[in-house]
Each structure stands twice: as structure tokens, then as C-alpha cells.
């Protein structure tokens, strides 16, 4: 009886010690993960991909009712604003008709000049639509999780909303991909100011308005200037709209992005044939 009691005490002690060892091991593992992240380990990428692939379907199920609620809200919101929107669209249509005539003339001129210069145009881009199933925008990260299905998607491909660049593919698992938005702190995109052709880097800082950095101090920049991709670095093609200058204060230039994720259910993942999964995203952080 006494021996049995001693045995039970020893087992209990062993359990306590085993628990302590597990806790220490888990803490060390967390530290190890952080260190591995810094060296961009394959193991970390595999763990990330596996977790996305496993939890992706759960997110899809959870996202569905929220999407229905959002659609209902949008429906009633649209009905209540239909008159004002209709007037705005009529005005816009008038302006677009004028622009259309100009574009036709320019197109003919462009064709003539292209023939004259023997210019070889770049290959056409292909795109797929991907459903947004989760967002994790907070003060620390601005990302989207999208369902890509069986379509082939690669790291670095451009993600566009209705009319402008909203981010790029950061991680791809089997059927899901993670998108880093242009407002995320890890987002750095080479851009030009459309009016002056001044080059800069559009740097996300986890606020809703990314900043223009590395812009020459002598550059003429005004509020409302359109910012487009410059194509420098080879990740993004040139000329894709991103946003416009929102404010210029004390040398800090804020950009308001055009892409409005408020009404987006799907995004377009565009393949211009520029991305390469083996190449890493250019890191400008050390220059800041």
C-alpha cells in the first residue's frame, strides 16, 4: 500500500516536470520560429502554407453569412442613393463621350506611329478572379486571404481591384493565396508621378494612406497628382494606376489609394509574366 502511494507521488511529480519541459519547449519553439522567419526558412513557408490550406475551408464557410449580410446592406444603400448616383453617372457619361472621341483619334495615331517605329508590344496579360474570404487588417498588418481554386498563382503577381493595383501575392498554398495590400508596412512599390514622371517608392505604413518616399526634393508635386507604377524592379508593369496624392505636408506625401475594398468581393490576380516565384520581393526596408 505504501509502495503504491510512493509510486503515485512519483508519477504526479513526473507529470509536473513533463509539463514544465513542454512549456519551456514551446517557448523555445516560438523563439526559434521568429529566428527562422528572419532567414526566410523553407520550413516556415511550408508551415504557413499548410495552415492556410487547412484553415482556408473553415474561413470560406464562416465568410458566407457575413457576405450575405453585406450584400443586403449594399442593396439597400444603393437603392437609397440611386437618384444621386444616376445624376453623377449622367455627368460622367457626358465627359466619357468626349474622351472616347479623343481616344479614338489617339488610337489611330498610335497605330500609325507603332507601324512607323516597328514597335513590338509586350505580351497581353492574363488574369483570374479570386474570392476574398478573409481580411486581417489591423494596426499591424493589412492583408487579404483569397480563394484561387485550381488556378495557377505565383508569389509576386499583381492583385487589382476594379480599376487599380491594391496589392501583390505574398504567399500561395494549394487553393488559397495571401495578398499584401499596398497599405501594409511590408509593401514597397516603385512608382512615378504621372504628371511630372518623377520616380519614387510608394511605401505602406499600416495607415490607410501610404507615403511616397525617395522622391527628389526638387520634384514638383501637387495634391491630386495621379500615382502609377513605374515598372522599375520588374515586379510590376509600368503605368498601372494606384492612387493620387492626398496631402503634402512637411515633406511627407500621403497617397490615397483608388482601390476601394469596401465593395470588393473578388479581386483580379494579373499575370504579366513578370513575377517569378523563385525571386524574392525587393526589400527596401534597410534604406529607410
Amino acid at each position: 500500500m505504501v509502495r503504491r502511494g510512493v509510486f503515485l507521488i512519483k508519477t504526479a511529480e513526473l507529470k509536473v516536470w513533463a509539463r514544465r519541459v513542454v512549456v519551456i519547449a514551446l517557448f523555445l519553439l516560438a523563439f526559434f520560429f521568429i529566428l527562422l522567419n528572419k532567414v526566410d526558412s523553407v520550413a516556415i513557408k511550408t508551415a504557413n502554407k499548410a495552415a492556410l490550406e487547412v484553415s482556408g475551408p473553415i474561413m470560406q464557410v464562416i465568410e458566407y453569412p457575413s457576405r450575405i449580410i453585406h450584400r443586403l446592406y449594399t442593396y439597400f444603400y444603393d437603392i437609397s442613393h440611386i437618384y444621386i448616383e444616376n445624376r453623377a453617372l449622367r455627368d460622367e457619361n457626358k465627359q466619357l463621350m468626349i474622351l472616347q472621341n479623343k481616344v479614338r483619334a489617339l488610337e489611330v495615331e498610335n497605330q500609325l506611329l507603332t507601324r512607323l517605329l516597328n514597335y513590338v508590344p509586350p505580351a497581353d496579360a492574363s488574369f483570374i478572379s479570386a474570392k476574398i474570404i478573409a481580411e486581417s487588417g489591423d494596426g499591424f498588418t493589412h492583408i487579404l486571404l483569397v480563394y484561387t481554386g485550381d488556378e495557377k498563382v505565383e508569389k509576386g503577381q499583381i492583385v487589382m481591384g476594379d480599376e487599380s493595383v491594391i496589392g501583390r501575392i505574398d504567399e500561395v498554398s494549394g487553393h488559397y493565396a495571401r495578398v499584401i495590400l499596398v497599405t501594409d508596412i511590408n509593401s514597397k512599390i516603385p512608382v512615378v508621378v504621372e504628371r511630372t514622371r518623377a520616380r519614387a517608392i510608394l511605401s505602406g505604413d499600416n495607415t490607410i494612406a501610404p507615403k511616397l518616399i525617395f522622391l527628389r526634393s526638387s520634384s514638383d508635386i501637387q495634391e491630386g497628382d495621379v500615382i502609377v507604377t513605374s515598372g522599375v524592379g520588374g515586379m510590376f508593369p509600368a503605368g498601372l494606376p494606384i492612387g493620387f496624392v492626398n496631402s503634402v505636408q512637411n515633406g511627407e506625401i500621403s497617397v490615397e489609394t483608388i482601390g476601394d475594398i469596401a465593395r470588393m468581393e473578388y479581386v483580379r490576380i494579373v499575370d504579366y509574366g513578370l513575377s517569378n516565384s523563385n525571386e524574392e520581393t525587393p526589400d527596401f526596408s534597410e534604406n529607410n
Binding site: R19, K38, A51, E135, D138
Partner: protein
């Protein structure tokens, strides 16, 4: 009868309820909000669940559960893997230690202690991510989520209490 397979399965599932319900709640709060501004107010639901279950059922919610919640938070929020794991395990350790002093206190006290833990969590995450990124992160945007988490605490606690009363009642604790 009690040793039968179905009984073991039942106990296994009941033991997993704190973790499972935490994961479901966490996933729910990763739903697309379709607004960049609203995103800043997204509460850290995983943190509330870790705190609640550590206080109420430490025997069913240990470091392994916190590790899983931290891991999934890292994956979904695209944070460097390990940051949220480390912080969640820190939270569980701090809560378990503090619980000895205030476990039988009122809801208000528990809420106040949570507010302190949430502030420490956000501050630590902010500092860790700044060290990791090697640059300054905006303060207000980072802490809006913290304030929203503190405000959401009663609601998530209410849900967790309902889950606990429904699936893990007193009789089950006494078994």
C-alpha cells in the same frame, strides 16, 4: 460503461471545447469587414479567449492551446511566425499567475486586469514587430485594436460563459 469508447470520445470532445470554441470565434472575427477603417477596430478575440479560459478552466486550456491560437493568428495576420505564439503563451503565464490573486473577484476587476494584459500584449507586439521590421510602426493604428478588444471583452466573455454553462457545467467539473 464509463470506460467505453463513446464515453472516452465524449470526454475528449468536451475537453476540446475551450480550444474549439476559441478557434471558431477567432475565425469569425477574421471575416472581411469591407472597410479599411473598420479593420483597425478588429478585436483580438484569440487574446480574450486565452484569458477567459485560463481563468475559468486552466485544466482544459493550457500552453498547447495558446500555441495553436498564436500560430493561427500569425498565419492569418501575416505576422512573423512566432510573435503571436510567444505573446499568447506569455498571456497564459501572466493570467495563470495573476489568477491566484483575483480569481474570485468581480467581473469589473477581471475586466480591468484584462485591460492591463491587453495593453501589455499590444505594446509587446508593437515593440517586437518594430524590432523585426527595423522601422517605426504607427502608434494609434496599432492601439485602436487594443481599445476595441477591451470594449469587446464583455461580449466575448458572455459567449464563452454561455458555452461553458452549456457544455462544461458544474457536474462535468465534478466528474
Amino acid at each position: 460503461m464509463r470506460d467505453s469508447f463513446s464515453e472516452k470520445m465524449r470526454l475528449f470532445l468536451l475537453n476540446g471545447i475551450p480550444l474549439l470554441s476559441s478557434l471558431v470565434l477567432m475565425f469569425l472575427f477574421f471575416m472581411p469587414l469591407s472597410s479599411v477603417q473598420l479593420n483597425y477596430f478588429r478585436p483580438f478575440v484569440g487574446l480574450i479567449c486565452v484569458y477567459y479560459w485560463t481563468l475559468k478552466r486552466e485544466d482544459l486550456f493550457g500552453f498547447c492551446s495558446a500555441f495553436i491560437i498564436g500560430f493561427l493568428t500569425d498565419v492569418y495576420s501575416s505576422s512573423p511566425l512566432g510573435v503571436n505564439i510567444l505573446l499568447m503563451m506569455g498571456v497564459i503565464a501572466a493570467t495563470a499567475w495573476l489568477a491566484h490573486y483575483f480569481q474570485s473577484s468581480s467581473f469589473g476587476v477581471a475586466w480591468f486586469i484584462f485591460a492591463l494584459i491587453c495593453l501589455s500584449y499590444t505594446l509587446s507586439k508593437w515593440i517586437l514587430l518594430m524590432i523585426y521590421a527595423g522601422r517605426f510602426l504607427p502608434v494609434w493604428e496599432a492601439f485602436l485594436g487594443c481599445f476595441s478588444t477591451i470594449m469587446f471583452y464583455p461580449l466575448i466573455t458572455l459567449i464563452n460563459t454561455k458555452i461553458q454553462n452549456r457544455f462544461l457545467p458544474q457536474e462535468y467539473i465534478d466528474e
